[in-house]
Amino acid sequence: MQIGIFSVGDVTPDPTTGKTPSEHERIEAMTQIALKAEEVGLDVFATGEHHNPPFVPSAPTTHLAFIAAKTERLLLSTATTLITTTDPVRIAEDYAFLQHLSGGRVDLMMGRGNTGPVYPWFGKDIRDGIKLAVESYHLLRKLWREPVVTWQGQFRTPLQGFTSTPAPLDGTPPFVWHGSIRSTEIAEQAAYYGDGFFHNNIFWNPEHTAQMVALYRRRFEHYGHGSADQAIVGLGGQAFMAETEAEAKRFFRPYFDNAPVYGHGPSLEEFTAATPLTVGTPEMVIERTLAFADNVGDYQRQLFLMDHAGLPLPVVLEQLEILGKEVVPVLRAEFERRRPAHVPSDPPTHASLVAAGPEAPHHLVEPARARAEALAQESAQESAQEGAQQ
């Protein structure tokens, strides 16, 4: 089980002081948060990507490379990489480069989390969102897997004899997740390629998350990557902790009430009842998080959102201490205890993908298609043999 944090990178005023951090302060804070994640023993730091205020993370690989240089074992990821508006050629090259810099401590999560106007700024149309995600990701897979790519699609300048440089570290493309809250097409996409599926989880009711994950698992099995319970699932989570539930609520309430996304709507009590948000003791967070596995099945990655709604940096760092020292060790042990042996504990890492060798399905652009074609060939041969015997 990999446990880590993801950050949206929003610049939000602290509602208790009215003070808004500068972009510089927020970028610095995100770096401090990532370094603290490694220090307290978390596995993953994932950054958002946005190209509009009030968000700062417009250059995720620049930031992740800087963090990589200052850490030893922290896995660097995204939440999410904007597959719709970012040129897949840039993604292929930037993240392959980051693999080389970080010694393979990279994976990515594809997403469509940008608002309407961002699309035209990048020459795209939000109404093509799903098609863009499909076409651009397919090209990205080719760029990482085929030494020379000749390609023509609907949305991008054609490529004639293009080689993406550098090639992925050890000839092994990074593992990819697909994040979606409610688009079934994206769960289907993750299943088709045998990639991971991440559900943000924190803004919606658990029944919805369970349905989305179940769909992905069913289709993962359908495409022959393994049984449904072996599909690679990640979930978001959100917590604020103190020694008592009352103290946690007292401190967090103004941040909750004014938070972007859900502030000025439901009460803290309503929202914690309806969604995975947990405001209380570390024990409560442990209990709530373990229940995620009852909801979606044993899964491989848990990312917590800890630094939003204008929480000041010292508070976030203190929260990470509690998370790393009191919550995560128990979660690791308990998740491990309940996991059946045939279900993977962790998502694929660079090391495990390299160990699987160059013939592994990971190196195919379309493993599901290759598998179907091999099966068809096999049955054709069998019937030919039967014919010869008769």
Partner: protein
């Protein structure tokens, strides 16, 4: 087969003239459906009871509360809809609009009100607002691909003490009853009951927006034309 009709009332006070009109319409529709040899049952949704749920839905990026999810389910599963609002500032009330904003808009072939027979009605202090029916309510339901009956019912305060309202109520009720009875007008046992799956005889489908669609477009077809 019992037809199910949902009554949506956006009245705020108790007692409310909007609800009073809604009840008169429901009674008249009952009489008309019964006269056509069918039974009818009602679910009444008082939007006041969903006010906080709707605010929560709007501020959480569209997460329905359990009560709102139930209302969405009732609406989309219905055979007909009676929608009644008070007139506020030259249009339907904000609460009324919030509810219809919280229904599944769907695609060209789906949606909460896709092909739904609807009777529109409004109340106000003065008859000067009566065009709200045709300038605000009718376009809203047309946009949502509902089938709005020709007669809308407008009741100014004075209409409750005058003749004429009853006749308009009866005419609108007859129009709605025709559509509701025709909706799935086949003899049980001789044709499959497609209404259970919310797939109407005209092939239209209603989706309440709750939960994740059971069917998914296979990836091969999503990828077609995009594989390079």
């Amino acid at each position: 087969m019992t037809r199910r009709i949902v009554v949506v009332s956006a009245g705020l006070s108790v007692p409310s003239s909007t609800r009073l009109l809604a009840d008169q319409l429901a009674d008249a529709v009952s009489a008309q459906v019964t006269a056509r040899g069918e039974a009818v049952a009602y679910d009444v949704i008082e939007l006041r009871e969903l006010a906080a749920d709707l605010a929560s839905f709007m501020t959480t990026g569209g997460m329905p509360t359990p009560a709102l999810a139930r209302a969405r389910e009732l609406v989309s599963a219905a055979d007909g809809l009676i929608a009644v609002t008070p007139v506020f500032s030259a249009s339907y009330s904000g609460l009324f609009k919030m509810f219809f904003d919280a229904l599944d808009p769907g695609t060209s072939e789906t949606g909460a009100l896709n092909g739904m027979p609807v009777l529109i009605a409004a109340t106000a202090g003065t008859a000067r607002h009566s065009l709200v029916l045709d300038f605000a309510m009718r376009p809203l339901f047309t946009y949502l691909r509902a089938v709005v009956v020709p007669t809308g019912v407008f009741a100014a305060t004075e209409d409750f003490g005058a003749s004429g309202l009853t006749e308009r109520v009866a005419r609108a009720a007859a129009e709605l009853a025709n559509l509701v009875v025709a909706e799935s007008d086949h003899v049980a046992g001789f044709a499959p009951d497609l209404t259970a799956a919310r797939r109407r005889t005209d092939g239209r489908r209603r989706t309440d927006g709750n939960g994740v669609a059971a069917e998914v477009t296979p990836f091969e077809s999503l990828l077609r034309g995009h594989a390079g």
